[in-house]
Amino acid sequence: MEIFTMQFMQRALITAVFISVITPLIGNVIVLKRLSTIGDALSHAGLAGVTIGLCASVNPVLSAVAVSVLAAVTIEYIRRAFPNYAELATAIVLSFGVGLAAVFSGFVKNSADLNSFLFGSIVAISDFEMWTVILLSAVVIAASFLLYRELFYVTFDEEGAALSGVPVKSVNLIFTILTAIVVSVASRTVGVLVISSLMVVPVACAMLISKSYKQNIIFSVIFALCFTITGLIITAFKDIKPGGTIVLTGIAVLIVLLLMRPKR
């Protein structure tokens, strides 16, 4: 346990706790709205942001946030243009993100930097990055609490929500921007390629045991915290990638819960 007295590991733990709270907060809405692919689309747009940041010598977390937010707004715009084909918007933005990232990655001088975003590198996080995560997490947590009922209603029944006076378009836009923020800040922790899993797997686990919407949110946050901290502990003792370890821990728990589930 001596390793946890080291500053880099403390930074990693603090960051992990914040990421573990915000990813399922957003993941709940994404999964229950059946929009699980939006995480993939925004994480790939975020990757494009990372490559642009690395090329332009701008902090890659900040450039990832900027490009992901832009991508999120684009998704909302395309979704309104094709209201009956919501998945088309995520597919277009995902392709654009991959294309952009592929082009700009050719200009990145240090490929190790890009690699740390692809697979996550939470133990290498700087003070500035930790504070960025804390600040943006505070925004996401506050928005999730303030818009709890609106997000619940829109997730459950968008038409009913509109007829009850919920500003559905604004709520959807705010939510998509929040998703972009979460994807970008979490990309440094677990990596662009697995962030979508961290949003979805804890929620899937919670859905197997929770009885209410509120419980589902609480359980998914607890699951995410357990997966991330367990993953970090494993990473501290074995020289393996933290992002993959965190997600694989989650998948292992999901499999156990699925096997233990009473048959309907």
Partner: protein, 241 residues
């Protein structure tokens, strides 16, 4: 003042004209069934009234206000065909679902009060679902789920209730019990406008029927007149075709 006024309403989809110069009104205490064969625009009419679609011509007023300017959401409530398109795996309790109906009364950022919780309890009691408040919504039968959605509509204490084929996909026994429930709510003063494909099960509880025709016109008549023979026979004939 009529609670609902529809004047010379016309609506067309790009490839098809649905409603043509339709006019009718609903007064306080009315229970109006909207009937007609498939494609006559029953659900479209409800969407127009609730401002989910914009009319091609004409105007709709709710409580004297043009429907596109109407913002007094607590005065109206809507129940859709939820029992058939409902995601049974959604992790939410009956109480949580009913609480959503309070949004029109509370609005943005206002937390629920003790009085709101009492409203939820009372709404569930009205529909006979008090014992199920902690159950996950997906664990209930179609008829029970629809009762919960009616409780969600009632919790904001609306003056007017709109229903779009609420008995689709529900077993016959549950249909009868939902129709009786709607009849009781109407007797207690709630104005109801309901789209239905199964007019026979609800006719006894309603006082008016709006029959939509394939040419886009509509005729509002008393339930007695509707029941008096020829029109009912016509609807049945067209259905059997």
């Amino acid at each position: 003042m009529s609670l609902l006024e529809v004047k010379n309403l016309s609506f067309s989809y790009p490839d098809k004209s649905i409603l043509h110069r339709l006019s009718f009104s609903a007064e306080q205490g009315d229970f109006i069934c909207i009937a007609g064969t498939n494609g006559t625009g029953k659900s479209t009419l409800l969407k127009l009234i609730l401002n989910r679609l914009a009319p091609t011509e004409g105007e709709i007023k709710l409580f004297g206000v043009l429907s596109h300017k109407f913002r007094d959401y607590a005065k109206i409530a809507y129940v859709s065909q939820k029992a058939t398109d409902f995601n049974a795996d959604f992790p939410a309790t009956v109480e949580e679902i009913v609480s959503l109906g309070l949004y029109s009364r509370r609005g943005l950022f206002k937390p629920y009060t003790k009085q709101d919780r009492e409203r939820i309890r009372s709404a569930l009691e009205k529909v006979g679902m008090s014992d199920y408040s902690g159950k996950r919504i997906g664990m209930l039968s179609g008829g029970q789920q629809q009762r919960v959605f009616i409780a969600k509509a009632l919790v904001s204490d609306p003056e007017m209730l709109f229903l779009d084929e609420p008995t689709v996909g529900i077993d016959v026994k549950a249909v009868d019990s939902i129709c009786c429930l709607l009849g009781e709510l109407n007797k207690a003063g709630l104005t109801i406008v309901m789209v239905t494909h199964d007019i026979s099960s609800i006719l006894y509880h309603s006082n008016k029927v709006l029959v939509l025709s394939e040419d886009g016109s509509g005729e509002l008549m008393s339930s007695e007149d509707f029941n008096s023979g020829t029109i009912l026979a016509h609807v049945h004939h067209t259905h059997s075709r």
